[in-house]
Subunit: 346 residues, 4 copies
C-alpha cells in the first residue's frame, strides 16, 4: 500500500480525492490537512465519507508531513500552493498539485493573471502539465504534476484533434463553457448560495477568467502558433459537470465523416475519452461522477464551421479524477484503477 | 372591455397568456380552446389559475368562435395554425399567432425548415413580424402579427444595435443559446421528464434548429445583406429563461464605452429592453416572469470580439408577454399594460 | 400616497416587501435601511428590483427616520427588532414587525426559546398577532403588528377550523413541515450553499425549532386548552414554499364531507385561503409568489385520523405578503390591494 | 462467473441493476429484456452505461431465457411479474422480483390494494420478503425473493428496533415520507415532467398508497399485533432519495441515550444501516447512490414522542441495491460485493 497525503482535504476537490481513493486498492491515506477543520473528523465535514471514520484533519505542517508519504496531493488555494509544492519537490517527493500555481510555464503570464509573482521558477520548470492525452510520456517520469484546470481540460480535449490535424482556422476560436456550481468551491458565499444560483443562469468573467491563459498556452503548443481564444464561462444550476461548446471555422475541406474519423483516431487508445456518433451530443448527466470526457461533433456546412461539444465532470476529469489518473501513470499502475466507474444516472 | 379568444390554452404559452391577461384592465377572455382538455375547467389543468374559476376549455370551432371576439391569440402547434390564422384574418379579425407559421416571409424557406408547404401565401404577405423594437410602426396598423420565436427574440435584440450601426463583421456570428425546459412545451415526453433534465445539460439541434432561418431573416433585413449564423440551442435545468451569448468580430474600431453608448441610444425609449452597466451580465433569474430583455456587453480587446449576452423569459418576452405587448400596440393601449411587473426573486 | 419606511431591506423578506409594494397604488417607500449595504443602490443588491432605480439603502437611524413615515415595516433579525419597534411604537407610529420579537405574549416563553429577555413588556402587551384569519378585528385597530412566522402561518391555518369545531383529539398533533431555502434568509452560509442543498433533503431542529411555542400559543388560544405539538421542519431544495402535513386523531365522529364543509364554512369569506376539493392536495408550485394558503383534506378512516395539508409561499403569506395584508387592514384599504396575483407557473 | 438475466431492463431500477452489477466480480449479465426497446442497444437507452457496449435488449421470451441463467432479476410492472416469477420458480430458477407481486403474503390483501387476483398462491407462499435486516436467514435458503418496496424499506428499518423492543405505543404511528422523482419510474408522463415537478412539492395518495399494506404487514409481524399506520408519500424535486419521518408516542419510559443504544445494538452487525449520533439527522444527499440506510433519532420529551428519520436511495437500498444484496446473500457471496461504495457528493 502506497502512503498518500492530501493537503487541503475539506473542499470539494479534496472530498472527491477521498471518495475516489477509497476505491483504490494500492493506496493508503495517511494524513489529510485542513486549517479550518483541524481536529475534526472527516465525517463531520463530509458525512458521506463514512469509510474514513477514523481520519482526522490536521493542520498542514510540511516538515511533519514530509516523511509520512511519497505522494502528495495538494488541493490548496492558488498562491498557497507555490511554497508547499516547492518544499515537497526539493525534498524528493512526488507532488500532484491541483492548484493553478504550476500550470503556466511562463512566470510573467502567471503574474499577470494571478496577480502575484512566482517564487520558485526553477521548480516551475520541472512541472509537467497533467493532461495524459497530451503528456502521458512525460507524466510517467515526472515528480511534479500541475493538474489541469476544469475548464481547460474540456476545452483542450475538444480542440486537440482539430489542431493537431490542422482542421481549423485558429484565428477566431470561441469556447463557450457552462459549469456546475461545485466549480466555485465549498464555501460560505452569497454568490453560490442556493437561492441565488437555483433557477438562474449567467455568464461571468467574460474574457478575463484565469483559465484563459492556460487554455491558450496548451492550444498554442499543440499547433505551434500563438493562439488567442474567446473563453466565456457560465454558471449552471447543477452540482457537477462542465459542457463546453467550441466553434471554429474550418480551415481544410473535410467531410463530417472525415472529421469524426480524425477524432476517433486521435483518441482510440484513450481510456477516458469517448467520441460520440456524429449527431449525438454529450450531456453532463451521462458522465457525472466519472473520469470520462465525452465529445460530440457537428460540421455546420452552411457556415463552414466546426462545432465541438465536450462534457466532463469538473470534480473528476476536471480535477480529482485526473489527479488520480496522473498518479496511476506516475506509479506505473493501470491508469484506470479506481476510475473505471459508471455515472450515477439519474 | 375588449373580448379576446385564446386558441390553444392548455400549453405553457396558453397558460401564460391567461396569467398575464388576468391583470389586464381592458381585456375579457370570452373563450379558450383545447382539443384534449375540452370540457374541463381551466383550473383542473392549471390549478394556479384560480381566477378563471368559471372558464371551461372548448374545442376549436372556428366558425363558432368567429363572432365572439375581435382579437384572437393563437398558441397552437406549427402547421395547425396556418389555416386558423388565415380563416380569422380573411374574416377581418385581429390575430396574434404565437406559432412559427407566419414568421418566415419566404414560403420556400418555410417549407425547407418546417417540411410542409405554406397554403396561404397572400395572407402570409400581410403578416408583420411582432418584434416591437423593430416593427412597432407596422404593428400599430397590422391585423396579423407573427409573434417571434423565443430564441430569435433574444438573439435579434442582442444584435440589432451592432448591425444597425455596422459595428461587427457579419461573416462569423456565433449565437450560443441556453433555454429553460418550458421552451419544449407542456407534454408527456420522456425527453423532458424530471429525471432526464434535472442535473443535466446538453446541446441539441446544432445548426438545424428551426429558429435559425427566423434569426437569419431578421438579421439580414437589419443590415441589408444575407447573414448566416451558427445557432446552437442548449437545454437548461430550469423552468424558464433563455440566456444567449453572442460572439462577433468587431468590424469597426470602437471603445467599450462607445459600444455601450450605441446600445443605450438604440434602446433608450424601449420599455422592455435594459442595457446593463459595462461589465455586468444578465441572469435569467432577475427577469423571470417579466417581459424584459436584459443585455450585457463585453468588448474583448485581446481578440477584437464583441460579446453580447441577453436574457429573456422564454414564456414572456419570448412568447406570451410579447404577444400581449403586440396587442397593446395594435389596440393603441399603453404598451406596458399588464406587463409592468417585477421578477419573482428568488 | 402613504409614506412607508422599510427597516432591513436587503434580505429576502425585505426584497419581497419591495416587490409587493411596487404594485401598491397608495404607498410610497420613502426610505429603506441596511447596515451592510448602506450607500448602495437597491438594484445593486437586488438587480430584479429595477423599478427602485433611485432608492439607496441607508443605515437605520431611528430618530432620523421617525418623521419620514407613519408606517414602518421591520424585517430585522430577532433581538434587534425589540428596541426599534418599541421606539417607533411609543412615538405613535404604526409598526409591522416581521421578526419574532413581539409574537410570544409571555416574555418568559420568549426568553426560554430566544435566549434573551424581553425589555419592553408593556409594548409587547399592545402587539397584535398578525394573522388576519383570527385577529382581523384587532388588527384594524392595532398600531403594532407581530407578523406571524412562516411555519406558524401554515400550521395554524391548517388547524384552525378543526380546533374551533373541536373535531380532533388535541393530545397528539403532528406538524411535519417542509420549507424552501429562502426561509433561511439571504446570507453567506455554507449550510445554504447550492451544492449542499441541491438534490438533498433533511429534517432539522426537531422538537427545538423556535416556531414551536408560537404555534402552541395560537393553537392553545384557539381551543382554550394548553396544546403541545410535535413540530418538525425540513429543508426543501426549492427557493420558496412551505408544505405542512398535519396529523391529528379525530375526536368527533364526522364524515369527510362534513369536515370539508366545516373548513369551507370557516374560510368562506377569507380572500387568501382556498380549500381544495376533497382528495386534491396542494402543491407549493401552484401558489408561488402569491399570498394564498391552499388547504387539502383527508379523513383516513382506517386510522381515524384527520390529515390536513397546507401550502403557502414562505416569503409572501409566510412573511411579506401577510405584512402587506396587515397594513391594508390597518389602513382600511381593500385587503387584497397589491396581493391579488396569480402564481408564476411553471 | 454466474450468469444473470434481467427482465425489464429499460426502467430506472433496471438501469440501476446494470450499473451496480457492472462492478460485481462474480456476475455476468447474459440477457436483458425490454418489450419497447427490443433490438436497441442498452447504451441507446442509457448512454451512461457505456460498459454494456455490446448488450442489446430482447423481448421477454421466458422459454428462451430459461436456460440462459440461474438467477433472474425481474424489474417488471406489478401484475406482469406474477406469471414470469411463477414460471421461473417452478422451473427451479432463483428469482429476485422487484415488483410488488410477491410481497403481500395474504392474496386477499393483494387483491384489495392492487385490484387483481393473485394466480399463483402456492408460489406466493414460498416467497421470502427480501429485507435482510429481518429475514437474512430465510433469504440464504430462498429461491424466490420479493424485494421490498422503496417506502417500506425506509419505514420498516426505522421502526424495527422500536417495535422489537416495545418502545412505542403502536396505536398511532405516523409515517411521513418524501421521495425523489425516480420513484415514479422512467416514462413519458406529464405528472413527472420537469416543469411540473421542479420547484414544486406535494403530498399524494394519502392513506391510499399501495405500500401501506406492505408496511403494515411487516410492522405487525415485528410486534405480533395488527398495526395500522398513517402513511403519506410526498414528491420531492430531486432525482433520488427517500426521507421518512416517523412519529410514535413512547410506550416505555426511556432516555434518549437508551433509545440510541437500542438502535445501535439492533443494527450493530448490519453492513448497510448506520445510526447517526443523537441530534444528527440524515440527509438523502449523503447516501445517494449507495445501499445505506441512515437513521437519526429524537426523543421529544415535551410530547413524549419518539421521532425517527431514515434516509435511503430509493433506487439502491429501496430497489436494485437491495436486490443485489439479496442475491449476494442467496449465493453465499460477501454481502457487500458491488455495494460497498461511497455517495456521490455533491
Amino acid at each position: 500500500m502506497i502512503p498518500v497525503v492530501i493537503c487541503g482535504g475539506s473542499g470539494y476537490t479534496g472530498g472527491e480525492l477521498l471518495r475516489i481513493l477509497s476505491g483504490h486498492p494500492y493506496i493508503k491515506i495517511v494524513a489529510v490537512t485542513s486549517e479550518k477543520s483541524a481536529g475534526k473528523r472527516v465525517i463531520e465535514i463530509f458525512p458521506h465519507l463514512h469509510k474514513y471514520n477514523a481520519l482526522i484533519y490536521e493542520p498542514l505542517n510540511k516538515e511533519k508531513l514530509l516523511n509520512k508519504a511519497d505522494i502528495f496531493f495538494l488541493a490548496l488555494p492558488h498562491g498557497t500552493s507555490q511554497d508547499i509544492v516547492n518544499f515537497l519537490f526539493i525534498n524528493n517527493k512526488r507532488v500532484i498539485d491541483l492548484s493553478a500555481d504550476y500550470r503556466l510555464t511562463d512566470p510573467k503570464v502567471y503574474k499577470r493573471w494571478y496577480g502575484i509573482p512566482h517564487k520558485f521558477v526553477s521548480t516551475l520548470k520541472k512541472a509537467v502539465y497533467g493532461l495524459p492525452e497530451i503528456y502521458r510520456g512525460k507524466i510517467k517520469k515526472a515528480r511534479l504534476i500541475a493538474n489541469p484546470g476544469c475548464y481547460p481540460t474540456g476545452a483542450i480535449l475538444g480542440l486537440l484533434p482539430a489542431l493537431k490535424n490542422k482542421l481549423i482556422d485558429i484565428s477566431s476560436i470561441i469556447i463557450d463553457s457552462k459549469s456546475g456550481t461545485s466549480g466555485g468551491g465549498r464555501k460560505a458565499d452569497l454568490a453560490v448560495s442556493y437561492c441565488e444560483v437555483n433557477e438562474g443562469f449567467k455568464a461571468y468573467g467574460i474574457g478575463t477568467h484565469r483559465h484563459t491563459p492556460e487554455i491558450e498556452q496548451e492550444l498554442s503548443l499543440l499547433c505551434g502558433k500563438e493562439i488567442k481564444v474567446n473563453f466565456t464561462p457560465h454558471l449552471l444550476p447543477v452540482d457537477r459537470g462542465i459542457l463546453t461548446t467550441i466553434y471554429a471555422p474550418m480551415g481544410k475541406k473535410k467531410t463530417a465523416g472525415e472529421v469524426v474519423k480524425i477524432y476517433n483516431e486521435t483518441y482510440k487508445k484513450e481510456p477516458f475519452v469517448r467520441i460520440l456518433e456524429y449527431g449525438i451530443y454529450p450531456n453532463i448527466k451521462n458522465i457525472r461522477g466519472t473520469n470520462i470526457c465525452e465529445i460530440g461533433l457537428k460540421l455546420n456546412e452552411r457556415t463552414n464551421t466546426l462545432i465541438v461539444v465536450t462534457a466532463i465532470d469538473n470534480l473528476v476529469k476536471g480535477a480529482s479524477g485526473q489527479a488520480v489518473q496522473n498518479m496511476n501513470i506516475m506509479m506505473g499502475i493501470n491508469e484506470k484503477t479506481a476510475l473505471d466507474t459508471i455515472a450515477l444516472f439519474p
